[in-house]
Symmetry: C2
Subunit: 273 residues, 2 copies
């Protein structure tokens, strides 16, 4: 998907919400377990109930791989459903992949071609020749982990490298890579105040911001420090939306949560655009 | 697998060879493409021809994911075959995964339980709570990327963090994690001389060394700087073995390459043990 289409969708829906499909058989409503493919049934209902309030879906691949072949089937069906019924949605494989050249190309093909995702998250540790195989794909987007929202982020990401935090070195270095205009970045919302400095390094890149809500981030702060003329933000919510209810009303409960977030985003968009 | 069993196997076979199953439909002998599952047929023949010369197999998961559902099936069959016929082999999922807590646990279950691998490679960028969910599994091994053998390794891994290279910070920091005795490390053989300093930080840990041969590393140097009393080394070769021939003799050609490496390793073991 061209970035302009994503921006147009955001402006039309007055939402920059990404719904995380971290679908877990132990957390979905028990009545769904009788279905032939409970994961897909859950995802389908969640997507139908939330699509008008969000612009992107982000399945975390771990949740599918955990179920082996069955999980992979559920993921394929989910992506086929999204691509067929809601082609305007921006789809992100939260895979956090990263390997050397030729092997990264394999991952890129798996997610960009076989599954037809618009974007994938990648880890930066292996550097240039682990990221560029992903950015080689036109109209596909590579979302590099910069500053994550977990406690372990302080182990390495915030350590000082040549006078500046490692995550800033990651931002600066990756902007020199080939097709850097196809890069986006993961920036945890629990560190919203860091966004000001991040915007000095990547003033225009889209940021995928997890951790608003459940992990304690504030939407207001994220917008204050992170929003650009072309919005430049995708704010993700997973558990807060998809597990809003564990009963038969789970889909409408998820829709209500997504709508509430969309309305909060609409209020922010009015202030900044 | 207990580490003692791996060490005993190494001593018995006089080999610390790991065969990388980077199986690629574009590179396997064309006559196999008529088989129902060419990837599994190839792997099975390679395993049968090489198992007596090696102690470990390492499928790079990207090569399987690239083929979607079919690739996942081939991986499941390969692992079932290994676990059934050659249970002494140490199996490594070269997946380079890494995510937050609960999600890393999903990946750990996928590879340690669903597929029954002995070990998995993980990326360190997200820190403690992305690694410890893997080390929580008893008799399973978590192989952290420290210093990789690609050019991009110089982007971040060798940058100076608080007076020392980032990869050394990764080594030092991870040794403080819970169940650190279940950690191993990836160290690229193209930088064999670095092994001396690495051994000062992790004197006993097993190191998975890719890049001997194709990527220019020297077995002699790796042993000189990296070998411990309990060997502490797994040296991987992928393409050099599995694509030794693209004709009907591919399996015996792979066996011969594996045997040659085993013999070189036997010579080294005699010198150091």
């Amino acid at each position: 998907m061209e970035i302009q289409k994503l921006v147009a969708q955001i402006k039309r829906k007055k939402s920059f919400l990404c719904v995380g499909l971290d679908t877990d058989l132990e957390k979905i409503p028990p009545h769904l377990l009788q279905e032939e493919d409970p994961i897909f049934s859950f995802n389908k209902a969640i997507i139908d109930a939330t699509h008008e309030f969000c612009v992107a879906y982000k399945p975390n691949i771990a949740f599918y791989e955990a179920y082996g072949l069955d999980g992979w089937k559920s993921l394929e069906k989910t992506m086929a459903y999204l691509n067929d019924k809601y082609p305007e949605q921006f789809t992100i494989a939260d895979a956090k992949r990263g390997d050397i050249g030729n092997t990264s190309t394999r991952y890129a093909k798996a997610f960009f071609e076989t599954l037809n995702f618009d974007a994938i998250t990648v880890a930066p540790y292996m550097g240039k020749d682990s990221v560029e195989p992903f950015t080689a794909f036109e109209n596909k987007h590579t979302i590099v982990l910069a500053l994550t929202s977990n406690e372990g982020a302080y182990d390495f990401q915030t350590k000082i490298v040549e006078g500046t935090e490692l995550y800033k070195t990651v931002l600066r270095t990756t902007t020199t890579y080939t097709n850097a205009d196809r890069l986006m970045y993961v920036v945890g919302a629990t560190k919203a105040s860091y966004l000001k400095e991040i915007r000095e390094i990547v003033p225009n890149s889209f940021l995928l911001v997890p951790g608003v809500g459940a992990q304690g981030g504030s939407l207001e702060e994220v917008c204050q420090y992170g929003m650009t003329q072309e919005i430049g933000l995708l704010v993700n919510s997973s558990r807060g939306i998809i597990y809003a209810s564990d009963s038969t009303d789970f889909a409408s409960a998820a829709g209500a949560k997504a709508k509430a977030l969309q309305q909060a985003m609409e209020a922010q968009l009015k202030m900044y655009l």
